[in-house]
Symmetry: C2
Subunit: 220 residues, 2 copies
């Protein structure tokens, strides 16, 4: 634990946390998406989800490389986030293709929102690394298209998928809250001088989620 | 079905089969490896298995692109191999990290042997595509190293892992035999004029498997 008299080390701890949670988030997203691809109804869909998964893996590699550059052991940086992220995925294992798509869409969206909130407190070089992951938007279009198509084919699944999306957001927030109670340096950096108003960030994330749900015809 | 009077169409069917089984083999290997990565004991191991999985996905993309170039719908080319490959994976789901490594090592080896046997009957352009997948050998080194390390740490697991490897080869051969009874054009191309002696190819594959097992200290 860095004392308040060591701002640099404290900041480095917080940056390690941000890179750690993003890196492990990308890595577990990769594992789960690749596995969820088995439920795809066509080869085209399977390949598209696979492509999304490999993109997440590439983001992981870039984030892990930045940790190494900063002299932070990657294993140590991800450690605090292993349990919450594994728990999140264990509680949100999709049971069919539609649920896989909605989880990927909602999960990817939340991850992007989180990137946006945290990048502003990062040093310029680390920010470039984090922003690379955000640049990649074609997958979002694919996911939204497929969800809209499923809804068009069977409008009755709207209720079930809206509930499913709500569960994903709920589980993500539970785990995020758990993490924030344990990572003082992270919360201090995020809410500090150059930082963000956490309550406002939370509102922005929920609002963005609502917009995304509406875009595919689901109530948030 | 192409009659024997239409050698070109018959060959194209066989090439579609080869690309189809390789493509779907790579795609399912990707899905399963990515999922098996969750059992990795360290981030380094998880990342290494993830890297192997993404390499398999890249091979899939190259093979699928070649199918498109040849005017063969990828979905149609993979169709005959979906059930056998899904069945293979369902019957060989690893229950721990050591089993994941051995499956990846044995499975990757068998796939490479199969590539080697079939590339000689392919047209030069398709051969280049298939050989790209073979060029990539650093993953084999990683897998062999990790298996050796596990055996060094706990020599008692040698018996269990040898049995496990035998089961993987057995299941692969059962599915391969099933496929060969159904794909006449493929068998005809493989065993035809420019082709291979199937019994000899089978012997070579079993021999190569034995060599690979010995290399990590496991009995075949």
């Amino acid at each position: 634990m860095a004392s308040s008299g060591e701002p640099v080390r404290d900041d480095l701890q917080a940056v390690a946390d941000i890179l750690g949670v993003l890196a492990y988030g990308e890595l577990t997203a990769f594992e789960r998406l690749a596995y969820d691809a088995r439920m795809a109804p066509t080869l085209e869909d399977k390949a598209a989800l696979g492509r999304l998964a490999t993109a997440e893996f590439e983001h992981f590699e870039v984030l892990a490389a930045r940790l190494v550059e900063l002299g932070i052991p990657a294993q140590q940086a991800i450690e605090p986030f292993v349990e919450p992220l594994e728990e999140f995925h264990a509680r949100t294992a999709p049971s069919d293709w539609a649920e896989s798509l909605v989880k990927a869409y909602v999960g990817d969206g939340l991850m992007r929102d989180f990137y946006r909130e945290v990048t502003r407190v990062l040093d310029p070089e680390t920010r470039v690394v984090a922003e690379k992951a955000l640049a990649d938007t074609e997958h979002v279009t694919f996911l939204a298209d497929r969800i809209r198509r499923i809804m068009a084919e069977d409008p009755r699944c709207a209720g079930r998928l809206a509930l499913w999306a709500r569960r994903i957001v709920g589980e993500a927030l539970v785990q995020a809250r758990l993490v924030s109670t344990r990572r003082e340096a992270l919360v201090r950096l995020l809410s500090g001088g150059r930082g963000v108003d956490l309550a406002a960030a939370f509102d922005r994330i929920i609002e963005a989620h609502g917009t995304r749900m509406a875009a595919v015809g689901l109530s948030a």
